[in-house]
């Protein structure tokens, strides 16, 4: 069995003739790459069977496909979120609804029903919430002020023991207080959009009479 598995050399054990090729012939070369993507065809294909039947069926097929595309069964990819609202949106949205189809729920499982979201109420809610939040935050601020005052008093007691730390806290408390006071002044007192410290109500007008020595005013 010396020649077993050694290919077509001299020591082949079986009768090579039976395979159909003689000793001297060359085998086709080894395959080194995948077959080409568009292999060349040796024979040209036969022309189509022409008949009225096929022409009619072709027309039917194209019509059917066109109808399927226009039908409500054809889902288009959902539109990208628009960055700004455009006037034409109103008209485009109307054109999209191409015969909406309502499935018969007697024949479909209940879990497939779309959840009906009530849009109108929820759109009003956020604005109400915002206002109330603002009000709450204002109330919170006055509360936090009181709390801080209390804290300060407590901290004042502790200062005797830890002055440095107490000092720092006090400063922070004062700073916070000042900020809160400023905040209060600006937003609570008259609830306008204008920052009150920018408004000069004329009370200080005549207070600078003593500075007449500065020189002429141009």
């Amino acid at each position: 069995m010396a020649g077993r598995g050694r290919g077509r050399g001299k020591n082949v054990s079986f009768n090579v003739e039976a395979l159909g090729f003689g000793r001297g012939e060359a085998l086709p070369g080894p395959i080194s790459q995948p077959p080409p993507l568009f292999p060349t065809a040796d024979f040209k294909p036969v022309p189509f069977q022409q008949s009225e039947e096929y022409d009619y069926m072709l027309a039917l097929k194209q019509e059917f496909l066109g109808n399927m595309r226009k039908s409500p069964f054809f889902l288009q990819a959902s539109h990208k979120r628009k960055d700004i609202e455009r006037y034409s949106d109103k008209y485009q949205a109307a054109a999209e609804v191409n015969g909406k189809w309502k499935p018969d729920w007697r024949r479909l499982p209940a879990e497939l029903k779309p959840r009906v979201r009530k849009k109108t109420k929820s759109s009003i809610k956020p604005s109400v919430k915002v206002k109330s939040k603002v009000k709450l935050s204002v109330e919170d601020v006055s509360k936090t002020l009181e709390e801080l005052e209390k804290k300060e008093v407590d901290q004042g007691d502790e200062e005797e023991e830890e002055e440095e730390e107490g000092g720092k806290k006090k400063e922070e408390g004062e700073v916070e207080e000042e900020e809160d006071e400023i905040y209060d002044e600006e937003d609570i007192e008259e609830e306008t959009d204008y920052i009150l410290s920018y408004f000069d109500n004329g009370e200080e007008y005549g207070n600078d009479d003593d500075d007449a020595d500065e020189g002429p005013v141009y």
Partner: protein, 525 residues
């Protein structure tokens, strides 16, 4: 389901329902059945969207659902239904040739909607028909005409009822179909009670649910009975047509008529997938033929002629009633498939290869030396061609060893053709070709979409403009080179479309054969 079939299915879904539906379809093809939340998480689509998609697919009979034993509902896809969509144009054409234009419109509407109620479809068809008739100045048709056509379609089993959904105890829909008796599928509703909703054949559970909900679905006049196309019936029709056509081209048109009459008679008697029809007596055949076609002795001559023919379509099984004959459906399909494969070999490899192939088909098993003798081609060339066929898997070898130790020098290597194997290989190739054609057509349309749109718009504007000179001006905005390109593109698209149709014909024969082959295996065991 092979990979090629999956490709075709996916593309069909994409073409007819859009990108997202094809994504869901792809997932279900790989991993059906699965529940709703899994589908939406794996495909990364919004749950609401997936719900919509599943509704659409169920409506079109592509997806079914059933209850898993743990209680949730699973959805699975039916690949056969998707591939059946390839033959919709053929169904419509068949309805037209059998029952006329009204039936054609009816079937088109039913196919488009998937499941439809009788009243709705009749209404739509009436509208379309009357519009067309009005524009051509003819008289309007009455509703009873269309209803008549519809009943014809149902009576000959081309349309069937959709089965009622299975309900659980809490009256929720959990499964899709209840398999009932076959006769109930084709029962027409009583039309005189069209307007009444609640007193009809629907099961009481269904009615109470709709009453409880309180809402009135828009089109409930058909009493909740939905109709759909019966694919198997159409396939049977096409199979019969193919057999009749084969015999007519081989022998004679009258022989074709004889066979058609026989098939019509055996339709009602034979089971759906039988490989051989039940025997029919000559008297019955004679009565079924159109009256003046042929005399009785001529009929008997034809029958014996068809029986003796090499294609073996018909066989005589007895002598009672003047002779009992039955059609061998399986044999007929096998012959058709052989002819199909032979033409494939001829077109791919040449007529010399075809000689070798035919010799092998005739003699079943042959050694290489014997093939060279029979074929009468020079030995070298014959060897070359034989090995080309072998490398393409049209031919296979069987080893028969002379000695118990299976030594190669003392073994016979016999070449043979295994029809079933070759048929499935050719079928695979057909699906690949179909997929290629469809994809190429889509790319062509997309590449030249701008041009094609432009031309359509120009035509629309030109049609609405009254002045002739203005019309010419508008049509001239398309330059001659663009015009040429448009013509070329349109021709390519039409050719590809045409080729798709013809490939589908081939696919049909091969699929039928493989189905009957499997059935035969089942019958034998």
């Amino acid at each position: 389901m092979t990979r090629r079939q999956h490709d075709v299915c996916r593309f069909l879904l994409f073409q007819q329902f859009g990108e997202q539906v094809s994504v869901v379809g792809k997932y279900l093809l790989q991993k059906s059945p699965s529940p709703l939340h899994l589908i939406s998480s794996e495909t990364h689509l919004d749950t609401e969207q997936v719900k919509k998609i599943l509704c659409i697919l169920i409506q079109q009979n592509i997806v079914t659902f059933g209850q898993h034993k743990r209680g949730f509902i699973e959805y699975s896809i039916r690949t056969g239904e998707i591939l059946n969509r390839l033959w919709f144009p053929k169904y419509i054409y068949c309805a037209k040739t059998l029952y006329g234009d009204a039936a054609e419109l009816l079937l088109e509407d039913v196919l488009q909607r998937g499941q439809v109620q009788m009243s709705k479809v009749i209404e739509v068809v009436m509208q379309r028909f009357n519009e067309a008739l009005e524009t051509s100045g003819k008289q309007k048709i009455s509703e009873s005409f269309v209803v008549d056509k519809f009943s014809n379609l149902v009576r000959t089993h081309f349309l069937q009822r959709c089965l009622d959904p299975i309900k659980s105890e809490s009256n929720k829909v959990v499964g899709l179909e209840v398999t009932g008796e076959e006769e109930t599928l084709y029962r027409l509703p009583d039309l005189s009670r069209k307007r009444k909703k609640s007193h009809d054949d629907g099961p009481p559970a269904k009615r109470s649910k709709s009453e409880v909900e309180g809402e009135r679905p828009a089109d409930d006049e058909g009493d909740g009975i939905f109709w759909r196309v019966n694919n198997e019936r159409f396939h049977q029709m096409f199979r019969d047509q193919a057999i009749v056509q084969a015999i007519s081209s081989k022998i004679d048109r009258s022989a074709g008529e004889v066979l058609r009459a026989m098939l019509r008679v055996s339709e009602v008697k034979t089971a759906g997938m039988a490989t051989v029809t039940t025997p029919i007596s000559v008297t019955e055949i004679f009565n079924a033929l159109p009256k003046d076609l042929m005399a009785r002795p001529l009929l008997e001559t034809y029958l014996s002629l068809i029986c003796d023919d090499s294609t073996n379509f018909l066989s005589k099984v007895g002598d009672s009633g003047g002779g009992m004959y039955s059609i061998n459906i399986y044999e007929a399909l096998a012959q058709l498939v052989k002819a199909h494969i032979e033409s494939v070999v001829q077109e791919r490899f040449g007529s010399k290869c075809l000689r070798i192939f035919r010799v092998l088909l005739l003699k079943k098993h042959l050694e290489q030396k014997q093939i060279e003798d029979f074929v009468m081609i020079s030995a070298k060339e014959a060897k070359d061609l034989l090995y080309t066929l072998f490398s393409e898997n049209f031919i296979t070898t069987t080893e028969i060893s002379k000695t118990p130790d299976h030594a190669p020098s003392r073994t016979f290597y016999l070449f043979t053709v295994n029809i079933q194997h070759v048929a499935s290989m050719v079928l695979n190739r057909c699906y690949k070709a179909l997929y290629n054609a469809m994809v190429k057509k889509e790319t062509e349309v997309n590449e030249h979409r701008r041009l094609l749109d432009k031309q359509e718009r120009m035509e629309a504007i030109a049609a609405s403009v009254e002045d002739a000179s203005q019309r010419d001006e508008i049509l001239n905005t398309i330059t001659p080179s663009e015009q040429e390109q448009i013509i070329k593109v349109r021709r390519t698209i039409q050719m590809l479309d045409h080729s798709e149709l013809q490939i589908c014909e081939g696919i049909f024969i091969l699929e039928m054969y493989l189905m009957y082959f499997k059935q035969r295996q089942k019958d034998k065991s």
